[in-house]
């Protein structure tokens, strides 16, 4: 028998399974009317402090909850719990990012109808989380002033999939001679038109504007389509 080589087109996304679960999650979130915001950044950029402050400030006016991904510890969940908002830990073990199925499993038993906002703090990593849709409406990328202005150029994919950039630790900007203009320009290079906020979780600067941004995002959902994250190149 002579073997023949045949080329069979399959056109399947390697992350198809994750995309399917993310789509289901997004539908659930929408029908429950909960605005879902994910936070991505490198380790140590201040995600947890920013989220703790956000949860504390929002609790009087909104029903808020958070999921937090971490490789091994539950330190972040313990810190966030101080805000008195419901918080659940997702321990990823050796996995460097959250996947949609992990978010789905962590939500088990929570009544989404009872929430206005759900925050998802991803594992600190600027590479892999970019490729995994977790069903969020809004993806926020954090960049701390201590990291340097060129992070957007080093990790264009994650900045490009985000809807908002937040510069954190602004209280340290002068001390580390952070070049705001360069940071803004680098962000605009990899994601033209992305809004940029400047905050300090420590002294509260900029938090008002962030809360206003969230309130308006809830009124006019971006449906994550604005990023092209759901649509561009990931539909097949």
């Amino acid at each position: 028998m002579i073997l023949q080589t045949r080329l069979v087109e399959v056109r399947q996304n390697v992350l198809k399974q994750n995309d399917l679960v993310a789509r289901e999650l997004r539908q659930r979130f929408h029908s429950a009317g909960v605005c879902v915001v994910s936070l991505v950044s490198s380790p140590g950029s201040g995600k947890t402090a920013f989220l703790e402050s956000t949860l504390t400030l929002m609790r009087p006016n909104y029903r808020v909850a958070a999921l937090v991904g971490d490789l091994a510890t539950d330190n972040d969940a313990a810190r966030l719990a101080r805000s008195k908002a419901p918080v659940r830990q997702i321990t990823t073990g050796t996995l460097c990012h959250l996947e949609a199925a992990m978010v789905r499993d962590a939500l088990e038993g929570w009544d989404l109808d009872q929430l206005d906002f759900l925050f998802i703090e991803n594992v600190g990593n600027l590479v892999c989380p970019a490729s995994y849709d977790v069903g969020e409406d809004l993806r926020v990328v954090l960049l701390s002033v201590t990291e340097g202005e060129d992070k957007p150029l080093k990790y264009p994919t994650i900045f490009n999939t985000a809807d908002l950039a937040v510069l954190t630790k602004m209280d340290l900007a002068a001390a580390v001679e952070f070049d705001l203009a360069a940071a803004d320009s680098n962000i605009q290079r990899v994601r033209p038109g992305m809004p940029v906020l400047r905050v300090s979780s420590k002294n509260g600067a900029g938090m008002d504007e962030w809360l206003r941004f969230l309130a308006s995002a809830r009124q006019t959902p971006l449906v994550a389509a604005s990023t092209g994250f759901v649509e561009a190149g990931r539909t097949t």
Binding site: Q4, L7, V14, Q188, G228
Partner: protein, 103 residues
Amino acid sequence: MAEEESDQRGGARVSAVHLKLGALAGVVKAALLSSYEMASEGTVLQGSRLMIEELPVVAHCPKCLAPRTLDSPQWFICPVCKSPVSEIVQGRELQVFALELQE
């Protein structure tokens, strides 16, 4: 995926996997190639080749009203008219495009 196709075709041997890899996929070609042999061991893909086609970022330019291939994934401007571009039409792919089967 490959197993399904192989089963459907009476256990045909998969000799190659063709993958499209966008510049914004967040995955490096060299890392995929170096881990492929290990990952495929003991599966239907054992001994098969991984053929990776790298795709640059293509974005729709709102000024030229045309798709443009960007010079760099670090600079989202139209290479022709220098307008900022944000509507990506290619570059996020991590897609198994085709399988080569021996039957």
